[in-house]
Amino acid sequence: MTERVWKILVESFPKILLPGLRMTLPLTAIAFVLAMIIAIVVALIQFARVKGLSQLCRFYIWVIRGTPLLVQLFVVFYGLKAGMHMSPFWAAVLVFAVNEGAYCAETMRGALEGVPAGQIEAGYCVGMSYTQIMRRIVLPQALRTAFPSLSNGLISMVKDTSLTANITVAEMFMATQRINARYYEPLALYLEAAVIYLLFSTALSWLQRWGEKRLQSLGGREARHA
């Protein structure tokens, strides 16, 4: 590699990393928190088989999982922008939350159904209400089961935020494209961006492992080793 390329890489590193810290990470964090809220609500509605709402949730999951994320971004940003006055960032947050929410809802529903029904009956028998049982017994266990899959979703989302360059969010990938437009070193620059995405994903993997350990120390999963 020539000295010129090295210089470009060193100079551009903070210029790619900074949008990563300022856009990619906040976008991911906010969207994922909202996605979790959507997922839990949707999963609980389906778990409780609430008439009408249940069907609505199935429809939501069907539509979102059946259409590309990029198309959803375009529909919201270019299609609905006129009426909504949304910044690209918040349009992206909306789309990612709604999109990830659909996938996580299915993960959560599976995890809720994995909690033995006998524990719900036992909850009733000690006098607890449905809400108390869900909050204290079923949801904590389901979250523990779902944790690895949900972490998958989070890591995917960090990488998928690169799609938002298409709707003018000034995140890492767009920054890389701009720098490349000036120097034209696509291989080196896009590899550099890839490395930064990899750093982010690695940090999240560590976070996942730490989270799993913590959940384990809270009990419930030792059955496998016992």
Binding site: Q119, A122, G123, C125, V126, G127, I137, P140
Partner: protein, 246 residues
């Protein structure tokens, strides 16, 4: 203190309970025995509303309830005064032994934590598991789990405890410890309705025995005379099969 009249329940077209009536006095320990599929477990589950009965009357705590049309609030009120021990223990796997017991006290009964903990520890003591208080269910043997489940039922000071085949899921060598806890409980005066395949328990501990088959009560009575001289031919046949197996 508890009376069930003409309890009926079908699963689809299949009648499981064909009009069952029974009575319990305070301090009674009643064993329900009979062949599998006879409706014993369903009877217990209907009385505690884990299954919805089609029709029948429950009299409990001086009030009568229509089992086919009872409301949520009445169900919740009755459950506050009853305990239930399951065949498969059904401990909350995300809670320790002591938390399994305090959950119903703190969350459902709004008891202060200290008081709930004291009661829970006493209940664990009663079943010989004080030293396992901080263990999770997955760290306990089946027999220990069932003893915690019994402690969980006892701790809420119920007027009656229902047991649904409490030893059927246990390895043979673990059955003894659970039965001995139940024996202690019986001698302390607890009212117990026990679906069981343990004939020794029915014979030695229970004061009354109900024999059920095909969704009906065939015969019931004081356990002494019941085992010594069963009146019905089907009861005699069942008891013969059981003793031949032993």
């Amino acid at each position: 203190m508890l009376e069930v009249r003409d309890l009926k329940k079908s699963f689809g077209d299949l009648p499981v309970l064909r009009g069952v009536s029974l009575q319990m006095r305070k301090g009674d320990v009643t064993a329900i025995i009979g062949p599998s599929g006879g409706g014993k477990t369903t009877l217990l589950r209907c009385i505690n509303f884990l299954e919805k009965a089609d029709s029948g009357t429950l009299t409990f705590g001086g009030r009568s309830y229509d089992l086919g049309a009872i409301g949520k609030r009445d169900i919740a009120a009755i459950r506050m005064k009853t305990g239930f021990v399951f065949q498969s223990f059904n401990l909350f796997s995300n809670k320790t032994a002591v938390q399994n017991i305090t959950e119903g006290l703190i969350i459902a009964r709004k008891m202060p934590r200290d008081q709930a903990n004291a009661i829970a520890m006493r209940a664990l003591d009663q079943v010989g598991l004080r030293d396992r208080a901080d263990h999770y269910p997955s760290q306990l043997s089946g027999g220990q789990q069932q003893r915690v489940a019994i402690a969980r039922a006892v701790a809420t000071s119920p007027e009656i405890i229902y047991f649904d085949e409490p030893t059927s899921a246990l390895d043979p060598e673990l059955i003894g410890e659970v039965l001995s806890v139940m024996r202690d409980l019986a001698s302390s005066g607890m009212t117990m309705l026990v679906v069981t395949h343990e004939m020794r328990f029915a014979r030695e501990v229970s004061s009354r025995v109900i024999f059920m088959e095909n969704g009906s009560i065939v015969e019931q009575g004081e356990s002494g005379p019941f085992f010594a001289a069963p009146r019905e031919a089907r009861t005699q046949a069942f008891l013969r099969t059981i003793s031949a197996e032993k």
